[in-house]
Subunit: 108 residues, 2 copies
DNA sequence: TTAATTTATCGTAATATTGCAATCTAACAA
DNA sequence: TTGTTAGATTGCAATATTACGATAAATTAA
């Protein structure tokens, strides 16, 4: 199948899984790290830094954008990608919540 | 292709992506939540709680186990799954690290 | 032993993901 | 206008994931 039965799960479970999925590829981690280190978010340099083709990188950027983790704005001839702070905060809270609950109930 | 070029990325990027991938399905989030709420970790009840077949659930458990997030021990006739605390801590630290860096450099 | 219970694995089918080359589009420069 | 540059999109191929039923394996109960 390959088709996730997402309707069987509640919104939070689906949302958290979606954020995790966005992070579930080393190239997307690398992209986020690039955004971090460059502070400002011009990302034309990604094609120089990542060992992937331009079209593949563009696809990964699209997935990060669709998940809500990053956002892109046209900036002259190029595009400026940066972290979507509001959504990122939500993702962090959801993950933190899981970690805290586990610490409380399952921590040794 | 569908084949991640993981050799192109460093160990930490691959490891973090692997942890994220383990969390990248609502059923696996739900399984972890069940482990949390049941405190102790008998998970035979998963087939009653999740809207998925026993074999599918077993597959998701296997993925969580392979990622290192949970571990399973034989306990009489059934199997006791619980959080793998050491690995979970590593996953949390890696994720926290990313979040903190973003807060520091990209936070508004 | 036989039967029941619990979980894993196998086989299969459908959909998703990853990746690249090629092409398209939009904006700027000459 | 024409050319250039930056990215996105399309089309394709290969692999991965998700899901289920059926079956296998291991343990306990009778």
């Amino acid at each position: 199948m390959g088709l996730t039965k997402s309707f069987n799960f509640d919104d939070k479970q689906n949302q958290l899984a979606a954020y995790a999925k966005a992070l579930a590829h080393p190239a997307r981690i690398a992209i986020i790290q690039q955004i971090i280190t460059h502070k400002t978010c011009i990302v034309g340099s990604l094609t120089d830094v990542l060992p992937l083709s331009q079209s593949t990188i563009s696809q990964h950027l699209k997935e990060l954008k669709n998940s809500g983790i990053i956002k892109g704005e046209i900036e002259g001839p190029s595009i400026c990608y940066c972290i979507h702070n509001e959504n990122w905060k939500i993702a962090r809270e959801m993950l933190d919540n899981l970690f805290v609950q586990i610490d409380q109930r399952c921590g040794q």
